[in-house]
């Protein structure tokens, strides 16, 4: 679909530029994001498309090119294509991986275009004009603090980690720092790769291995789904609750409904891509300064505030 959209957008621009000097004022914003390969990325794709559609109506002088990439190499190609064929004025990029994307994004910045980086930072500082960042250490910290508040006497927990990346390391470090000295003991930790099936298997094995597990930090809502199914199948009632993360709508719903196994969730909103695109559009079309770093904090969702975070239309 994104190809179609890019193609169609491309044709429109060609037609416009063929139309003559009229097109001179149209500015082009390129948006390059990873493809929807898991739940969170799916939500991010959804919000990116929605924002682009909406902003195209709000700002007649702006044109958008949206490209989704299934791997870092493809993303580099996308960005090079955007510069070569669309002459973009601004680039909004959520890098697949920091290192491979740094040189091409740097080249875009050097060509004079505005660069907005989302979520994952680049390896070299100072390339981007605007950095819309998720707060990974904060995500871990908020999760850890919640665990401490729920288990004042301490207890034994198991942790499911994501795909081995800097993001995952920062979250776990933040979590470990928050529970330090609280009496909460992490008795086991494995990678569930932000995947339902993997986390189901890992949790089954944790349940075979440990006789008493008081709580689970699944650290992601997709993994929480697998964890819950495994606990359910084993018929164990020692696990008091499971804490996921990210803000998947099904999980928010359960928090809203007062589900005892899912008493809370911690946000890491995929809609941060929308913040980035909006701010970039504002920067291109007005005098409002938008450069700098915009950190999107991770918020604790409980049954009291869950309603504000519930988007039934989003795929995530």
């Amino acid at each position: 679909m994104s190809y179609m959209k890019t193609l169609m957008a491309g044709c429109t621009v060609l037609a416009l530029s063929a139309g003559g000097a009229l097109a001179q004022d149209t500015k082009v914003i390129g948006v390059s994001i990873p493809a929807a390969t898991h739940g969170w990325a799916g939500g991010m794709n959804f919000h990116a498309q929605q924002t682009v559609e909406r902003l195209e109506e709000v700002y007649p002088g702006l044109d958008f090119v949206l490209a989704t990439a299934s791997d870092p190499g493809k993303q580099v190609n996308d960005i090079e294509d955007m510069v070569a064929t669309r002459n973009i004025d601004a680039l909004v990029v959520l890098p697949f991986e920091s290192d491979p994307l740094t040189p091409p994004v740097q080249a875009v910045a050097e060509s004079g275009a505005w660069v907005t980086v989302v979520d994952r930072g680049l390896s070299v500082e100072g390339i981007e004009d605007l950095y819309v960042a998720g707060d990974n250490p904060g995500f871990g910290r908020v999760s850890g603090e919640y665990m401490v508040s729920q288990m004042p006497e301490g207890g034994k927990i198991v942790v499911l980690r994501g795909i081995p990346t800097t993001i995952d390391n920062e979250r776990v470090a933040g979590f470990e720092a928050a529970i330090e000295g609280s009496g909460i003991e992490i008795i086991d930790m494995e990678h569930g790769n932000w995947n339902r099936d993997d986390s189901f298997n890992v949790m089954q094995d944790f349940l075979s291995k440990h006789e008493q597990i008081d709580a689970v930090w699944a650290s992601d809502d997709d993994m929480a789904v697998g964890v819950l199914a495994a606990i359910d199948a084993a018929g164990r009632d020692d696990v008091d609750f499971v804490l996921g993360g990210a803000g998947m709508k099904e999980m928010i719903k359960r928090v809203m409904d007062g589900d005892e196994m899912i008493p809370a969730d911690v946000t890491y909103p995929p809609s941060m891509i929308a913040t980035a695109i909006e701010l970039t559009a504002v920067g291109l079309t007005s005098n409002a300064p938008v450069s700098g770093t915009f950190t999107i904090g991770s918020v604790l969702i409980t049954s009291e505030n869950a309603e504000q975070f519930y988007y039934p239309d989003s795929p995530f």
Partner: protein, 333 residues
């Protein structure tokens, strides 16, 4: 290629050759290591877990054994499983207002899965046999197609089965007969039928003949194209069977469903002693291969010996070792 066949069949009367013993020894060593490291390893619950989760890859790998024996390859099975799971969920959710929660809707879902699987397999097979395109290319293409289709169906997110329906359907994965869960029973049946087809039926001999030498098989009056087509259709059907049991487990499908299943299935087939170039296949060996793969994961989760970062490396080493065991035997024999 003929030498491998004679080597594999001849020593049956004497001591079994290492090519037969290799994977079995590897599996036994793993079981011993697992038992030594954790007393829960041999508990009924853990064994059920390991066998039930092996069933998906296992059932697919049985079909893959025939495809590979006949000199083919199918890279699309993981994506195909994800696509069929997505399709099944969509159809069942759509039929819910009409049929209501009950056995008919589950049967409808199962029929959809089987028909979709057979159709997908036939399509792969048609492109490979009738149009004569390389199996690697055809299935690499369909792998991408199915993966994209499921992402598109799910709008980039996750397709979830209606909650009430899921609760009703759940026993297909978690329930069973006489304490043995359904996935294990279906897996066992698939293996028995597969083993008979491979070693006692004409179909299995034809597969091996085609994989050995297509031209000779053709001159020996074997219908090469039809046999090949059948192997792909059968694999597709088995992917459907695996999906029927995958869906009730978590009740959802997304773009991350079935990722890398194709490689795990192919690895299991090769560990089990089937020859990647075709010409010789062993269904029971495939089962051992599947068990070795899922047992490694299980043992790594049950122990703290190795950093989780190294799980992939351990898996790689054991896969290669299991195959080396057979190779050495072949060189000697």
């Amino acid at each position: 290629m003929m030498t491998t066949e004679t080597a594999a069949t001849k020593p049956r009367k004497a001591l079994p050759s290492m090519s037969v013993l290799g994977p079995v020894i590897a599996l036994l060593v793993l079981i011993l290591v697992g038992t030594a490291l954790n007393s829960n390893f041999l508990s009924a619950a853990n064994i059920t877990n390991v066998l039930a989760r092996s069933a998906f890859i296992g059932i697919i790998a049985v079909g893959m054994t025939f495809v590979i024996t006949a000199g083919g390859l199918d890279l699309s099975v993981g994506s195909m499983a994800a696509f069929i799971a997505g399709l099944m969920i969509l159809v069942m959710n759509a039929a819910l207002p009409v049929l209501g929660v009950g056995i008919p809707i589950i049967l409808l879902g199962m029929v959809v899965a089987l028909v979709a699987g057979i159709a997908a397999g036939l399509l792969n097979g048609f492109l490979i046999t009738t149009l004569g395109i390389e199996a690697f290319i055809v299935t690499l293409g369909s792998m991408g197609i199915y993966r994209s289709l499921v992402t598109w169906l799910a709008d980039g997110g996750t397709l979830s089965l209606d909650f009430g329906l899921r609760t009703f359907y759940r026993p297909v994965y978690f329930g069973g007969l006489f304490g043995i869960s359904w996935p294990i029973i279906i897996f066992a049946l698939t293996v028995i039928v597969g083993e008979v087809l491979m070693s006692r039926a004409r179909f299995g001999r034809h597969c091996a003949a085609i994989g050995s030498n297509e031209n000779v098989a053709h001159y020996s009056n074997v219908n090469v194209n039809r046999t090949r087509l059948l192997t792909y259709a059968m694999l597709g059907m088995l992917v459907g069977v695996a999906t029927i049991m995958y869906v009730p487990r978590l009740g959802s499908a997304s773009a991350s469903t079935g990722v890398l299943w194709e490689l795990e299935a192919i690895a299991a087939v090769i560990i089990g002693g089937t020859i990647l170039k075709g010409g010789f296949g062993r269904v029971w060996g495939t089962v051992i291969g599947v068990l070795i793969l899922s047992m490694i994961d299980n043992i790594l989760n049950l122990t703290d010996l190795v950093s989780p970062y190294l799980n992939g490396a351990i898996q790689g080493v054991i896969i290669i070792l299991a195959v080396i065991l057979q190779r050495e035997a072949k060189a000697k024999g």
